[in-house]
Symmetry: C2
Subunit: 110 residues, 2 copies
Amino acid sequence: MPTTKAELLQGTLDLLILTTLQADPLHGYGIAQKLQQRSDDVLVVEEGSLYPALYRMEEKGWIDAEWGKSENNRRAKFYSLTRSGRKQLKEETAIWERVCRAITLVLQTA
Amino acid sequence: MPTTKAELLQGTLDLLILTTLQADPLHGYGIAQKLQQRSDDVLVVEEGSLYPALYRMEEKGWIDAEWGKSENNRRAKFYSLTRSGRKQLKEETAIWERVCRAITLVLQTA
DNA sequence: GAGTCTTTCCTAGATGTTCTAGGGGAACCA
DNA sequence: TGGTTCCCCTAGAACATCTAGGAAAGACTC
């Protein structure tokens, strides 16, 4: 039994996915792994959250999908940021920073 | 049209309420105001979110309620932290710090 | 070449929080 | 007396995430 539940703050998943795609295209499975690694195992995305999120984001035009082959020679869908996705990433980053600062402020003021 | 939507990160409301009650008991309306002020108007809690949250937290035993008179001589329900609420506050603060750090890490690593 | 493991994708339904959009009473003020 | 502010409350909608599955196909083991 782990001491700390791995969890996600509702509302941050899009930001996290966009960030993960910033450098290179990645397939879904890879996004989840990268996210977990980069967060030192704190952030864990369930597949049942990830794929629906990717569809939402594709519909909104933030990411593009393309079928290809993974590093392990498996069929995989690679997602890449669109121009609109980069804009969204900027906005969501700004919102995160503002809200994060606000919460920290409240916690400290008390 | 405001440039920035005032919004709440889902999952942080309990933490924010507990924090706001840390020093003194407060009524619901006052909690919302204090939160907004301390966050420089970034965090705005709708009453439709606030009151249900207070009930949940009362049921869980984190806060106690008592009817009284407000500063403005109005009937008001004052909430105060229980011992269990203080413990919860500690835990949620720790979770927030861990997750916040993790997200910041991901944002920077990219 | 049979069987198992891993990778990768997918979905339906449940769960839980927050918001929208109301309603209402009572004190204060003009 | 009438309007405004304070303070409480609720039902239902909206939405994101999770649970708990299923499935296919390459890789590995023997």
